[in-house]
């Protein structure tokens, strides 16, 4: 009966049509793209205004309920999973783009705006929202901010954090904070806006964001290079970075290339094979400089071969060699790691992690790829065909702490851009010191004293 009275109290706030309790809705809204957890929320509410959210938070505090924020549900760390009868707060119906300021080049949006819609809106203003990644067609801007989403253009345009000029949030206490108000300069002490960016909904929920738009990107070209080793990859990065205006610098291994070629049914980009490949994207105006860089690298032997896009279609097609990797290895139930270290330490780090895994499991195939330009490496461990999924995952979990210990030794991050959520929560201590984690728990206490905002995520309980 209590559930019923709760449902009717919530309905009084958002309206009957904005509450869902069907099994299908509970399952769909109770999880993100992470598939390790069984969703079990008590209901889903769809507020339409900030005022409604304030009331929801008030009820949650009164009755000690847990709220889980839900955006496009494309997260990979379980940050939006509700598995303990929480109330899911979906931002699907707070999806209006309010206003564009042609002088400030900012746009005021609600959190439920889909990333791709914001990109399209910016394009209509002859500007650009430059944060981009594979799930942009589903993910929402509120979730992007709460996870400080990165993606494929970070090298040139930065993270989601760098595009946020202002935030309006409802804290766990129920306060409405209007943070930074779209200012560029604002030297008035602690910038609380940045605490909420990447907070994974543990301090409060975002109800409005002022987003800075960029000048539209110039024409771009993609180069795909065959590179003999990791040290050469770093050297190529150095040489090209001096000569060309790079928008992306990605690498992947020959094993990754093999999976793409056999899975995607596309031909090899060039005759020569090599241990590693580099995909770099640059502004067309700096193509001359890139040619000079290529000649220098070819001469010193740090590249073996390379191709360059001659049209927009070819640029998109060349990206497929890199972007097709995840999909191509999916049949092998990959165990995914999203790690980051300082760029200069990438080769040594990669070798150390490979050794750690291979020492225990010489039969496991390791697929490396990632955004070298950001020091972000994706390590995928593939399941051998004769291993069951359960025993494979259990073994990977057991070696995972050893891998994370290597991350800690290299002063890296256990989660470069996928967030912490539930999946990486217990490994947070490999990247953050006990003192830091204590501070984070303290901040949580300040903004959300009753622990109603996405409890159990990000921080140890």
């Amino acid at each position: 009966m209590m559930a019923n009275s709760l449902a009717s109290d919530l309905a009084a706030i958002v309206g009957d049509a904005n509450i869902a309790t069907s099994t299908g809705d509970l399952e769909a809204y109770g999880r993100d793209w992470t598939r390790f957890y069984q969703p079990d929320p008590s209901m889903v509410v769809f507020p339409k205004t900030a005022e409604q959210l304030v009331q929801l938070v008030a009820i949650a505090n009164e009755r000690h309920l847990a709220l889980v924020p839900s955006g496009g549900r494309t997260g990979l760390s379980g940050g939006a999973v509700a598995r303990e009868r929480e109330i899911v707060v979906s931002f699907d119906r707070m999806n209006r783009i309010h206003s564009f300021d042609p002088v400030d080049h900012t746009v005021l949006v609600e959190p439920g705006v889909v990333t791709a819609s914001l990109q399209a809106y910016a394009e209509d203003q002859s500007l650009a929202y430059p944060v981009d990644f594979a799930s942009a067609g589903s993910s929402q801007i509120g979730g992007n901010i709460a996870t400080n989403a990165g993606g494929i253009k970070v090298l040139r345009y930065g993270l989601t954090r760098d595009q946020i000029a202002g935030l309006k949030v409802v804290t766990g206490k129920g306060d409405v904070l209007n943070l930074n108000q779209g200012l560029i300069k604002n030297a008035t002490g602690y910038d609380l806006r940045h605490l909420f960016i990447g907070s994974e909904g543990t301090l409060g929920f975002i109800v409005e964001a002022t987003i800075r738009l960029s000048a539209p990107p110039p024409d771009l070209n993609v180069l795909l290079l065959a590179v003999p080793g990791m040290d050469s990859v770093m050297r190529v990065f150095d040489v090209f970075r001096r000569k060309a205006s790079l928008t992306a610098f990605e690498f992947f291994s020959d094993q990754a290339m093999n999976h793409v070629l056999s899975h995607q049914n596309i031909g090899a980009p060039f005759g020569d094979r090599s241990d590693y490949y580099v995909l770099l994207e640059l502004e067309e105006t700096s193509l001359e400089g890139a040619m000079t860089a290529f000649e220098a690298c070819l001469e010193e032997g740090t590249v073996i071969d390379g191709v360059v896009s001659q049209s927009e279609q070819q640029r998109v097609d060349l990206w497929r060699y890199r972007e097709g990797i995840s999909e191509s290895i999916t049949p092998h139930t990959p165990y995914k790691n999203d790690l980051a270290v300082r760029i200069s330490r990438v080769p040594e780090f990669l070798a150390a992690v490979s050794d750690t895994v291979s020492a225990r499991y010489p039969d496991f195939e390791l697929i490396w790829f990632g955004h070298i330009g950001d020091g972000n490496l994706h390590l995928n461990i593939l399941r051998p065909a004769d291993w069951s999924i359960e025993s494979f995952k259990a073994e990977c979990d057991s070696v995972s702490d050893e891998v994370m210990a290597v991350v800690a030794r290299f002063e890296g991050s256990v989660s470069a851009e996928h967030g912490v959520g539930l999946l990486k929560r217990d490994q947070l201590h490999f990247s953050r010191s006990p003192a830091e984690i204590e501070m984070m728990l303290g901040l949580k206490q300040v903004f959300d004293p009753n622990n109603v905002m996405n409890p159990g995520k990000l921080l140890p309980r």
Binding site: L224, F270, M291, F294, G306, V307, S309, Q310, S311
Partner: protein, 249 residues
Amino acid sequence: MKVLVAAKRVVDYNVNVRVLSDESGVDLNNVKMSVNPFDEIAIEEAVRLKEAGQAEEVIVVSVGTSACQEQIRTALALGADRGILVETDEEVQPLGIAKVLKAIMDKEQPEIVIAGKQAIDGDNSQTGQMLAALGGYGQATFASEVELGDGTATVTREIDGGLETITVKLPAVITTDLRLNEPRYASLPNIMKAKKKPIDTYTPADLGVDVTPSIKTLKVSPPAERQAGIVVETVEELVDKLKNEAKVI
């Protein structure tokens, strides 16, 4: 055997073109330009003939402003041996281009001309046919397969609802369809080498050709905008809309 390839500089296939507000044409300012995709296929086919030992020399021709050198350089990087730019600031139309290509054929005497079946800007699909008519050459349009014989070419053509195979005598004009081949990427070492390959430049007047446009564009307009979809709340509402608004049931 010599093979001549025609390559047109066009607005990149992936660019969203915008119609100028005075409806005189599309906005070409700061728009990405590329080789016409069908001409990319023509270049690839010519280079494959050369790699198979069936052609000795591949010459690429482009007609237009000096910027067309970029597209010629692309073709040279892909394997063409030398380029010819016929430079003009006039808007060149299919007949003008066909006349220019005829003059180049008289000069170079190639056995085969390969060109795209159409350019994606004007969508005319006329140049190849006009060239064949002007020179009295054989023509095999919309090719999806080309096989060279002794003084002949056997070409499979993509036609409505099927394929047609014809044999033409050389010299002949072949225009390419999408399925003929899959063009390769331009290799960076080959781009470096291509810098040394020669490009000859002529004007239409040098070739004794008049490219003055014979067709005047009256108006260019964008396609009608599609209405955005709506979300209906109930099945009843959906049925009602289908019945009374869309009138499909």
